[in-house]
Symmetry: C2
Amino acid sequence: MVKKFEAGTFDVIVVGAGHAGVEAGLAAARMGAKTLMLTINLDMVAFMPCNPSVGGPAKGIVVREIDALGGQMGRTIDKTHIQMRMLNTGKGPAVRALRAQADKVLYQQDMKETIENEPNITLLQAMVEELIIEDGECTGVVSKTGAVYRAKTTIITAGTFLRGEVIIGDLKYSSGPNNQQPSIGLADHLRGLGFDIVRFKTGTPPRVNSQTIDYSKTEIQPGDDVPRAFSYETTEFITDQLPCWLTYTNEVTHTIIDENLHRSAMYSGMIKGTGPRYCPSIEDKVVRFNDKPRHQIFLEPEGRNTKEVYVQGLSTSLPEDVQQKLLASIPGLEKAQMMRAGYAIEYDAIVPTQLWPTLETKKIKNLYTAGQINGTSGYEEAAGQGLMAGINAARRAFNQEEVILSRSDAYIGVLIDDLVTKGTNEPYRLLTSRAEYRLLLRHDNADLRLKDIGFNIGLVSNESYDRFNGKKELIDAEINRLKAVMIKPDQKTQDLLADIGSSQLKDGIRGSDLLRRPEITYNHIKELSPADADLPFEVEEQVEIQIKYEGYIEKSLQQVDKLKKMENKKIPEGIDYDAITGIASEARQKLRDVRPLSIAQASRISGVNPADISILLVYIEQGKIAKVSGQ
Amino acid sequence: MVKKFEAGTFDVIVVGAGHAGVEAGLAAARMGAKTLMLTINLDMVAFMPCNPSVGGPAKGIVVREIDALGGQMGRTIDKTHIQMRMLNTGKGPAVRALRAQADKVLYQQDMKETIENEPNITLLQAMVEELIIEDGECTGVVSKTGAVYRAKTTIITAGTFLRGEVIIGDLKYSSGPNNQQPSIGLADHLRGLGFDIVRFKTGTPPRVNSQTIDYSKTEIQPGDDVPRAFSYETTEFITDQLPCWLTYTNEVTHTIIDENLHRSAMYSGMIKGTGPRYCPSIEDKVVRFNDKPRHQIFLEPEGRNTKEVYVQGLSTSLPEDVQQKLLASIPGLEKAQMMRAGYAIEYDAIVPTQLWPTLETKKIKNLYTAGQINGTSGYEEAAGQGLMAGINAARRAFNQEEVILSRSDAYIGVLIDDLVTKGTNEPYRLLTSRAEYRLLLRHDNADLRLKDIGFNIGLVSNESYDRFNGKKELIDAEINRLKAVMIKPDQKTQDLLADIGSSQLKDGIRGSDLLRRPEITYNHIKELSPADADLPFEVEEQVEIQIKYEGYIEKSLQQVDKLKKMENKKIPEGIDYDAITGIASEARQKLRDVRPLSIAQASRISGVNPADISILLVYIEQGKIAKVSGQ
Ligand SMILES: Cc1cc2nc3c(=O)[nH]c(=O)nc-3n(C[C@H](O)[C@H](O)[C@H](O)COP(=O)(O)OP(=O)(O)OC[C@H]3O[C@@H](n4cnc5c(N)ncnc54)[C@H](O)[C@@H]3O)c2cc1C
Ligand SMILES: Cc1cc2nc3c(=O)[nH]c(=O)nc-3n(C[C@H](O)[C@H](O)[C@H](O)COP(=O)(O)OP(=O)(O)OC[C@H]3O[C@@H](n4cnc5c(N)ncnc54)[C@H](O)[C@@H]3O)c2cc1C
C-alpha cells in the first residue's frame, strides 16, 4: 500500500471533470467554497465521448436553466460552437429548443481554462480510489498516490468510468470511454460501502474522415442565419457556421444488420448492462422498428480544425467489420474511411433512489453524486445535476439551507425528482414528455423561472441580475400597456387585418385581446400601437407568449399551486412506515426505500397509490408518528 | 479470442501516431504509399507528454534536417509556437540552434489535421496486438478488434506505451504516459518474437497553475524579437509571443530531496529501467552534483489557452507529498498549485543493434521500428527516426533502394548510426558532442546538406526545390564575387576599419580575405563592395559562414572523404566472422551481432579495435569469404 499523506483541506471536493464535474466545481467555487477538482486525465476535461453537440429537445432548455442559475455550459458552448439551430420554430413555444454543434476540442479548452482561471478551484490530475468515511459522514478522498484530501462535502461525478468495459462485437475489455483508463478502485470502494449498484451501458457510433464523404449524395443542414445563444450573458455571436449533412440507412443497411445480429454484443448476451431506450443503437432500431424502410443519419463535423465527422444515428456495438459494411451501404459514405469504430461501454451506476433530492446520498452524509453515475445519460443531464450538487454541497459546507428545484421550476427539477423518486432501470434521458408543466418550462423563460434563485445563492452577478430585472420590468410594463390600450377600428387597422386575413374590427379592442388571435403577432400590434420605445427582441417575444398562451399558462399554474400545497405537506424525516396500518405492503416498501420528503413526492412513487397517500396524510395530520428514529 | 477479419491492404502500416509515427506516416504517404496509421487514442495524436517545446541544441538542427528532407515537424511548430529563440547566437555557427515553446494542444490539432488532409493516409483509432509474420517477413498487423491489416511494410512507433508502468514514490501501476492505456499485448508479442528487450525509464516534472505563481520572484525569458522559423517553407511568422520564466532550486529544496531520497523510486530499487543520463531527475542532479548550490528551473507555459505551466528542471518520481514540498521551496512557486504530479514511466524498448541502418529489424524483414521504442528519448529524435523509417518503408514497398544518411550528412545520421552500431544502455539523447562533424552539421545549412535527397525521394516539391536552387546559386555567385573583388585601401575603407578597430589596409585585398578577419562581418563588406542586388538574409549568412570558416570546413570535409572511402568499403552481407582468423573474440561477437554494412560502421563498434579492422579489411580485399549464407 502506498503511504498516505495529508494533502490539503477544502470546503468541497469534486471527483471528476466531465460535464457534471465542471458545473459542480465551478458552482461551488463561485459560491465561495474552496474547491478541489480531481480528474483522471487533465487533457480530457469536459470531453465529449459521444455526439459533438449540446442542447436539443428538453436538453437545450436544461442548458438555459443552467445558465439562468449561473452555470457554465451555455457560456462555453456559445463561444465554441460551429453551428446553432432553434428546433421546432414552427411549433408552440413549449417545444422550441436550441441545439448547437460543438467544436469538441475548443469546448474542452474553454472549459478547462475557465476552471484554471477560477481562483477558488484547485484542479489536479489524480485518480481517486477511496472515500474517507467517519461516523457515516464523508470527510474526504484518497488518491492513488496516497494523497488524502479533506473537505466538508464531496461530490462524485465519475461518469462511465466506474469499472468501465468497452464492447465491440464479441470483444470486451476493461477501459474508460475512448480508451481512457477506467476507474476500478473507486468502483469497488463504492460497492464495498454498500451502495446498490446497477450495470448500465451506452454506445457511440463510428467517426469518419470528412475528406472521404461524398456530400453530393446527402442533404445540407445549415445553421440558423439569425444569431442565437444559450446564455443570457452572451453578447458576441459566432457568424461563421459549418453545415451538417443528412443521409439515410436503407434496405441494404438493414439486411447487413439482420445478418450479423448474432454477432452483436447486444443480442449475444455479452452486454449485461441496460442501454438507453431513447438513444438506441442502430441494431436496436432496426429490430424494434423493422417495418421502417430507413433511418436518418446526420453527419456532424467534430470541429473546425479536424476532419472527423460524427455519424449520428449509427450508434452500434456490432463488430468492426460489420460497422465498415454498414457505413459503405449508406449514400455518401460508400468510400468513407472510418477513424474510430463505434462501441458500447458498460459501467457501474448508483441506484438513484439512494439519493436525497439534493443529490446527497442517504447512506453517507456530505457525500453527493451527480451525472452519469446517477443513472442518466447525456451531457446536459449531467451538467444540470452537477450544478445542483455543487450548489448543495457548497451550501452544506457553509451550513446554509438546501436548494431543491421543483418539477414546476425546471426540467432540472423534473430530472432529479424522477431519479430520486422513481429511480430508473435504464440510462435516463430527459424528454419533454417527462414534464407535466411543459408549457411553463420553456426555453424562452428560463431566466424568469430561475434567475432569482441563481442570484439569491450568489451565482448570478449583480450586473446580470440588474439587467434581468430591467428586462422583467419592460415585459410587465408592455403587457400592462397592451391590456389597457384600445386599438381602434380605423383604416390602418382594418387594412392590416385584411392583409393578413384576420377578421375586421367592429369596435375598439384591447391590444392584448387582438394579440390573442392566432394569426396576429406582436409585430402586427407594434405597427398599430407601438410601445414608447423600441423593445428588445426577448421582451417582445415574452410579451407575445405570455399574452397568447395566458389561458393555458394560468391553468398550468393552478395545477402547480395544488402541487405546491402537496409539496408543503412535509413528511417527518424519521417517520416509521411500519407503524402505519392500512398501507399496502408494496407501497410501504417503496416509501421506506425512497424516504420522500413531501406528500407530493410520495404520490409520484410508482406503486404508491392514492389510497396509500390518503392513509399517510391522515396519519401525519393526526400527528400520530409512532417512532422518530435518530438520537 | 475475437474473430479476425480482413480489414484492408496498404503499402505501409504505421503503428502509433506520436512524434515518430506522424513523420513516418506523412513521409510514406507523400511518397505515394497507401498508408494506414493506427493509434490508441485519436485525441492524443502528436501529444507531448513531457516538455512543451521543440528544438534546442542538436535537436533543433534535427528539426531543420527533417524539414529539408520534406518532413512535418518544423512546419507544424512554426504555426503553433508561443515563443521562439535562437540559442548560442554569441557562439560559432556549429552550436547555434533554434528552440520553440509549443502550444501543446494547437500542435496536436495541426498535426492531426495535416494527417487527416493527406489523401494517402487512413488514420484510425485502434490498438495493435499482433504482427502477422510469414516466412520471417512482416506482412501486416492485427488489432484488438480482430481487424487484420496487410501491408508490404510495417513500422512500429509505440513510444513509452509497451508495458508502460507509471512510478511515483512507492506507487507503481500499469499505464501509458499521462494515464493513457498501456500497450501490453503488442509488448508481449514482440518479446514472443524473440526480440531483445530492455526496460528503460524516463520522467517528467509536475505542472502548476500559472495563476498561482509569483512571477515577481523570477526572471523573464522572452522570445527573440526577430522572426525565426524551423521550416524553409515558412513565410508567415508568429509575432505575439509569450515569455518563459527562470527561477532556481536552493538549499532547502536540496535538503528536502536528501531527506526523502529513501522514498524515491529511483533509489529504492523499484525502478528497474535505466533513465536518461542527460535528462536527469532533480533527485539525480542533487545527488550527482551535490556541491552545486542551485539548479535552474524554467517555467514554461503549455499554451495560449491554458494556465498549465511546465516546471522544467524538476523532473521527478519522488512521492507526491515531497513534490509539493519541493515546489513550495522554490522562489515564485511558494504558493504554486500543482496540476499534475511528476512521475517516471518504465517501458519496453528494443535493443537497437537489432536494426539495420534503415531501421528495419534484422530479425523480421519489412518490419521497421522508430522512436522511443528504439531506445531514444525526445520528440525530435523520435521524429527524425520516424521520417527515415517512413522513407525506407515506402521505398521498400516500391522496391526502391534504401536511403541511409551518413554521420556527415546529418545529426539524424549520427543518431541512427549510434543506435544501430553502438546500441545504448540508457535512453539515448542527441547531443552536439555526439557528432564528429559538428561544423558541417549546422542549423543554417540543413537544406544545403539534405534538400537534394529530399527532392530525389519525392518529399520536396518542385517549387520548394527551385527556390532552394535559386538560393544556392546566389550563394555561389556571391562567394565567387567576393573571392574575385578587390577592396582598395581608400578613405572609406580605412575609416570603416578604424571605426571597428580593425587594422588599416596596406594594399588592396580580396573581399573574401577581408571577411575572414574575425571582427569583419558580411555587412561591413557589403558597405565597401555591395553585391549587384540586395541578397536575402540566409544567403548573406551562408556566404559569411562559408568564407569565414572555410579552413575548418575544408578540414572536416577531408575527414569526411576518408570516412566515405571507408563507408564505400562494403562488408558482404553474408560474411562469416567465425571464418576470419585473428579477430579478437569480443570483436567477433560484436561484429556478428551488429552485422555492420561497411568497414566504417564496423570501426565504430565499441570493442572492435583497429587491429580487428585491419584483419577484416585484408580478409575482404582478398575476396576470401568463406561462406555466404542465404539462398
Ligand atoms: C460511449 C459513450 C456513448 C455515449 N452516448 C451518448 C449519447 O448518445 N447521448 C448522450 O447524451 N450521451 C451519451 N453519452 C453520455 C455522456 O457522455 C455522458 O452522459 C456525460 O459525459 C456524463 O457526464 P459525467 O460528467 O457524468 O461523466 P464524464 O463526462 O464521463 O466524466 C467523468 C469524469 O470523472 C473522472 N473520473 C472518473 N473516475 C475517477 C476517479 N476515480 N478519480 C478521479 N476522476 C475520475 C473522469 O476523468 C472524468 O473527468 C455517452 C458516453 C459514452 C462514453
Ligand atoms: C513521462 C515522460 C517523460 C518524458 N521526458 C522527456 C524529456 O524530458 N525529454 C524528452 O525529450 N523527451 C521526453 N519524453 C519522451 C518523449 O515523450 C518521447 O521521446 C516521444 O514522445 C517519443 O515519440 P514516439 O513517437 O516514439 O512515441 P510516443 O509519442 O509515445 O507515441 C507513441 C504512439 O504509439 C501509439 N501506440 C502505442 N502502442 C500502440 C499499439 N499497440 N497500437 C496502436 N498504437 C499504439 C500511441 O497511441 C502513440 O500514438 C518523455 C516521455 C514521457 C512519457
